[in-house]
């Protein structure tokens, strides 16, 4: 239950914790009266947002109905059953929304939330820099106030979707005399201005799923600061917490609703654009699902040493999957989530690496080929040259082990020398 629940409401739903059945029935009734696949995507979404059924778990004054997360899920379920298209709940948009809802001003909420939900505005997140990866708080993109605007200079990297984003969440250093965590400020930046240059970043597997962003005297008006000056680290933590929570959702989002009609076609196009950077992610994770089928197809299934390699992958992959379910099941029983959750990332890296090894053994000489000449039309070679990213993207294995040992096992942090003095005195990279 959120604190916004008591706010004034203009919906017709029961006040206070309504039960699931009545919510489901109410939304069903509304959908029966309003859902029309022949509307444009924008028309339909506006209707949905205005009804409060688009984001029912959001506060009433900001397009929602102040329902619990659980009831929100029930509403989504009804939309799914009806085949009705939802609001634009893509990953990065949701991170922006969550951050703005928690730390933004009313102006931010009024200006950004609506076009974000309709899908008109796309967003990107500008945190990582060439010089600060694992050590995000070591960032050096500078924001200097010129009396009127904040002037941005610096470089960001690993920014998915920046090439079509209208707005960016950006973290920059506004004070160099404070310790590193205290001198950062969080802004919302207009990506479509002259001082912002977006360049695609090509990966070793040939895809270009990320961008580099160069700021050269880019401008942000003071009212686009989120929270206070110097409070950027705390706001960024909110964004990152939602990112971790949504990690699976971001990647699997948008299989798309099935049906015919204008709204579906437009949604399909939207999904294709949003999902484009993620299409190699299953290969990056090692495609464990293909191993036995491939081994049987190539005859390598008869080789006991190949079976050992496959078994090693299966053991780790299934055990990791069951660990995830164990965490969820415990959570569902109302137990405090244990530290098991943070282990999934590390397990995933190892699964991917073991799977690539097994795929190599199975492919044999074919592992040398790619594209149409390669096994499964190049899918196998894409696995082989994508898995190295799994142990880096979203936090390296080394950082995961730090987190696991410190937060999960209560082991002491290493002595730090970079947090207790002015940032300008902390040794840092001269080049990226």
């Amino acid at each position: 239950m959120t604190t916004n629940n008591t706010a004034d409401s203009n919906t017709t739903s029961n006040e206070q914790t309504p039960d699931e059945q009545s919510v489901r029935s109410e939304v069903r009734t509304w959908l029966e009266q309003n859902w029309d696949p022949n509307l444009t995507l924008l028309e339909w979404r506006k209707k949905l947002i205005d009804s409060g059924w688009g984001v029912p778990a959001w506060p009433k004054e900001w397009h929602g109905r102040g329902l619990t997360i659980g009831l929100g899920d029930a509403v989504d379920d009804e939309l799914r059953k009806m085949g009705a298209v939802s609001v634009a709940k893509t990953g990065v948009r949701m991170l922006a929304a969550a951050t703005i809802l928690e730390h933004g001003t009313d102006m931010h909420k009024a200006k950004f939330l609506y076009p974000l939900l309709t899908g008109e505005d796309t967003w990107c997140q500008l945190f990582s820099e060439p010089g600060s990866g694992s050590d995000l708080a070591g960032l050096t993109t500078r924001a200097d106030f010129d009396g009127e605007n904040w002037i941005f200079n610096g470089q960001k990297v690993w920014t998915t979707s920046a090439h079509h984003a209208k707005w960016g969440m950006v973290l920059a250093r506004s004070n160099w005399d404070l310790p590193k965590h205290q001198g950062m400020t969080y802004f919302l930046i207009d990506m479509e201005q002259p001082g912002v240059e977006v360049r695609p970043l090509r990966q070793m597997n040939g895809h270009a799923s990320f961008n580099e962003i160069f700021f050269t005297d880019a401008k942000i008006a003071p009212e686009f600061m989120v929270s206070k000056e110097g409070n950027g680290w705390k706001v960024a933590m909110t964004t990152l917490a939602h990112e971790r929570r949504l990690a699976d959702g971001i990647r699997s989002w948008g299989r798309g609703d099935k049906g015919s009609g204008r709204v579906y076609d437009e949604q399909k196009a939207e999904i294709a654009t949003v999902m484009e950077p993620y299409k190699w992610y299953p290969q990056r994770a090692g495609r464990v699902d293909l191993l036995i089928e491939r081994a049987k197809a190539t005859g390598k299934y008869d080789d006991p040493t190949v079976r050992q390699a496959i078994a090693k992958v299966l053991i780790m992959a299934k055990a990791a999957e069951w660990t995830g379910r164990r965490v969820k099941a415990a959570h569902a029983l109302g137990r405090q989530p244990g530290p098991e959750g943070s282990l999934g990332k590390l397990a995933g890296s190892q699964v991917a690496r073991l799977a690539a090894q097994a795929h190599t053994l199975i492919a044999g000489a074919d592992a040398m080929l790619t594209s149409e000449d390669g096994a499964m039309d190049g899918l196998i070679s894409e696995i082989l040259i994508s898995v190295p990213a799994e142990s880096i993207a979203g936090g390296t294995d080394e950082i995961q082990r730090n987190i696991i040992s410190e937060r999960g096992l209560g082991m002491p942090k290493e002595p730090r020398t970079d947090v207790d003095r002015p940032f300008r005195d902390v040794p840092r990279n001269t080049v990226g």
């Binding site: 036995i292 006991p304 055990a319 098991e340 590390l346 397990a347 696991i404 040992s405 096992l409 082991m411």
Partner: protein, 376 residues
Amino acid sequence: MQYTFSDEQEEFRLIVRRFMDDKSPTTEVRELMATDQGYDKAVWKQLSQELGLPGIHIPEAYGGQGFGFIELCIVMEEMGRALLCAPFFSATALAATAIMSAGTEEQKLALLPDIASGETLAALAYNESSGHWDPASTALTATPSDDGYVLNGGKSFVVDGHVADLLIAVARTPGTSGIYGLSLFSLEGKGEGVKRRLLQSLDPTRKLAQIEFDNAPATLLGELDAGGTTLPHILDLAAVALASESVGSAQKMLESSIEYALLRMQFGRLIGSFQAIKHKCADMFLEVELAKSAAYYAASAAAEQTPDFPAVASLAKACASDTYMKAAQECIQIHGGIGFTWENDTHLYFKRAKSSEVFLGDPNYHRDQLVLRWED
């Protein structure tokens, strides 16, 4: 599929753990492992009468507690954690499971209540000196006699076989081969024609016996020649029980490692503040959690008799064996020299890990079984 334990199961675990903490400190383990008998009769009596553990997964109709395989595995896990020296694995997890799987209704009624009460110690005589885990390798013969059968041949690696009142032996009808002609038989441990010898085992906390059968009279358990069907399942259940024990021990190794790393100083710092040790512990933690998940899933699959059970039984056994072995090794490593001493308790766990690594089939064997049994 049950992915986590119910509140009742967690409560039960706590009760078992408290009992183990109380009755099986390593001082006690060290005393018992030095004896031939290998367990404490008084503790066994308490464990039987106060907690009813020997009958944990035996139905109430046969005098048991009527819980399921998941509860059996919780007990195994806690016993592994405490390295309890007691004939629970042999009598309840192995022998009672075999009787429940293969015996006739009449035999279950006759044999199980005394096992459930802890009064009868039973043992499963399955493996032979060849050391193979495939039922097809059985050589012990069962020849029909006037009032039943007589067994001839030998068994080895029989857990607690030297003290068992009741032996459940796997034997074959003369002239058969492979998985055909295999049956289970019951006979008294001190019966005629039975010669038993305690083996010198690397892990002194798990007693193993060699048994010679010289025209030893025995009773057919269940149906003749049905062993080819019942045995694989019995062995899978045994493997999951052992996997549960191993994850309990592995968890203990993790905790012991952390505890020492947060106590020991070198170079003016806790060794637990060095990345080399932190990352080693993070990896151990990951592996132990994964092994737990595998063991829990397999126990659940056993309880619910899901079709993937044979594959996941092998998965859990391979995973738990490797994890426990590695955790014990790393626990010694983190302790440094002290970890290699007799005085330090880690070696007790290390030796159990080595023994559990190969008992019921080594990880390579089970990995192979896992893939061969896997259904997409």
